[in-house]
């Protein structure tokens, strides 16, 4: 067995015999966006092998949730994939509702979907900026953050917080929409559509960018399924895996939007899937923003929730892919066992496969388009 300490020792000894160079990318590295640690074996600049070492931000959220009640554990999941915190909460709320057999009022459903899609746009905007920065272009980061800021402000006004909103409660949402919500969202959508063109000029159509992305990190359809990749990563390889389409939850089956797929499976396809997905999210928001039904925003639930004995599984499409929540209940007020099937974990497992044979520069493009959020991987 080849232990981690051994690898670290070798990596730091400056041993370049045999032409192979072992370098540590991370846990503190500008391109890993967090504390991901990759041990990379290089031959010259070509990557021979990548070995991820996780756990630098592992908080054992699954274990923590075992001691929290069904109302409390939802907020912890915001800390997993913090960029789509709201969608994580959604998955948990759905699972608890499935167990409780609670019917969510239509207004709450619409609010949840609206917030989900806003979160998705915000997450993709951040990814777009950060990925451009991985490739050495700093400026798109700020343009992307400007749009994201508008969403954060909308969130702040309605939910009371900007990132970890904890807006979801079993049976609905915590507050009603803020009176300014519709006006602000409409303004944002107009602004978003106007400004998103800038990214085409600055990033998408840029010749350097295209050369860096096209044909890099190709993931075939079979591998995408085998590695359990979901979300934009799998859709770029042509797998139809949008949970909103194949297992519709809330009101997604009544909405009109396309599942974006590409066939190339390379970094550029993953990039395009996310960019086009932002437009689809904007389309969903436009459909709903004027048609929010009146009524309750929260179903009546008991103060202390108890799930019946059994197993419950629910899944949603986060900005990164399929998030599954698997609750094993013994009938008590806390889950007996809870498992989060996080999209990032499976997507990361494909990294070694798709980045081999590329240059170090390619690794940044590949890693950037996998859109890894480290707390989501470690949980």
């Amino acid at each position: 067995m080849y232990s981690e300490t051994q690898i670290l020792k070798e990596a730091s000894a400056g041993d370049i015999d045999g032409g192979e160079l072992v370098i540590n990318v991370g846990p503190q590295h500008p391109a890993t966006h967090g504390v991901l640690h990759l041990v990379i074996t290089l031959q010259g600049e070509t990557i021979k092998k990548i070995e991820p070492h996780l756990g630098y931000i592992h908080r054992s959220i699954e274990k923590m949730c075992e001691s929290l009640s069904y109302r409390q554990f939802i907020y912890v999941t915001s800390r997993m994939d913090y960029l789509s915190a709201h969608i994580n909460n959604h998955a948990c709320a759905l699972c608890v509702e499935k167990g409780l057999q609670v019917e969510v009022p239509p207004r709450a459903k619409v609010i949840r979907v609206l917030m989900d899609e806003l979160t998705r746009i915000a997450s993709h905007e951040l990814w777009l900026g950060a990925m451009a920065m991985d490739l050495g272009a700093f400026t798109p980061f700020f343009y992307a953050f400007r749009e994201r800021e508008a969403i954060n402000e909308i969130m702040e006004e309605t939910c009371g917080a900007r990132l970890t909103m904890n807006y979801m409660v079993p049976g609905g949402v915590m507050f009603d929409l803020h009176p300014n919500f519709q006006k602000k969202v409409k303004a944002f959508i107009t602004q978003f559509k106007k400004k998103v063109v800038e990214f085409d000029d600055l990033v998408t159509n840029n010749i350097i960018f295209q050369n860096r992305m096209k044909g890099i990190g190709v993931l075939s359809k079979e591998d995408a399924i085998s590695y359990g990749c979901t979300g934009p990563v799998a859709r770029a390889s042509g797998v139809h895996c949008d949970i909103r389409k194949i297992y519709p939850y809330e009101i997604y089956d009544q909405l009109e939007f396309d599942e974006i797929t590409e066939s190339a499976g390379d970094s550029f396809a993953r990039y395009m899937v996310r960019v086009r997905e932002m437009h689809q999210s904007a389309k969903i928001i436009e459909q709903l923003i004027d048609n929010i039904p009146e009524g309750d925003y929260q179903a009546k639930t008991k103060a202390v929730l108890k799930l019946p004995k059994g197993e419950f599984y629910s899944r949603v499409e986060t900005a990164r892919g399929e998030l599954g929540v698997y609750i094993v209940s013994e009938g008590g007020t806390t889950p007996y066992r809870i498992k989060f099937r996080s999209p990032g974990f499976s997507n990361l497992s494909a990294l070694d496969h798709i980045a081999r044979g590329g240059k170090i520069g390619d690794l940044m493009a590949t890693m950037g388009t996998l859109d890894l959020v480290i707390p989501d991987i470690d949980r």
């Binding site: 592992h58 274990k63 499935k98 066992r337 498992k339 497992s349 470690d378």
Partner: protein, 151 residues
């Protein structure tokens, strides 16, 4: 293709399977020895379960249960949950990382969190925890006097 077909198919391979249909999906409780054979068969079956979307373990204090959620990308409505009861003191099961590549990481996670030995796994090392970590933190009787906060 209904649950009955799947049942029939599984029973054809592993005769002593116990089924449980109270939940959302068909649950098949199998003995751990026959898991590898069944996994191979399910993957290549007419149902083509090519998508292992959740792999986890549950500690029932008396025994451990491996839970595999399988689905098919060709027919998304087809889902089967395979469960295998393991001995808690010496948990051992065959790896399926050669059938579904995603299992490689998930099995490593289960290995360090629950101590399940996956026979034939190509690289069964700790993934998340440090190398010198002792104990299996996700087991119910795990106690860490230093880092655990009791509420």
């Amino acid at each position: 293709m209904t649950n009955e077909d799947i049942k029939q198919y599984i029973s054809g391979i592993v005769p002593d399977t116990v089924y449980d249909e109270t939940g959302e999906w068909l649950n098949a409780n199998i003995p751990p020895q026959s898991w590898k054979q069944l996994a191979q068969a399910l993957r290549n079956s007419p149902f083509s379960f090519d998508y292992l979307f959740c792999l986890t373990c549950v500690d029932w204090k008396t025994h451990l249960t491996m839970v595999y959620h399988l689905s098919s990308t060709a027919n998304r409505q087809l889902t089967v949950v395979v469960k295998a009861k393991l001995d808690r003191n010496n948990p051992e099961i065959d790896t399926v990382s050669d059938i579904w590549r995603t299992a490689e990481f998930h099995e490593r996670e289960v290995f360090e969190m629950f101590g399940v030995q996956f026979k034939g796994h190509p690289d069964l090392r700790k993934l998340i925890l440090p190398d010198d970590f002792e104990g299996y933190p996700m087991r119910k009787d795990f106690e860490d006097p230093v880092n655990m906060i009791r509420l």
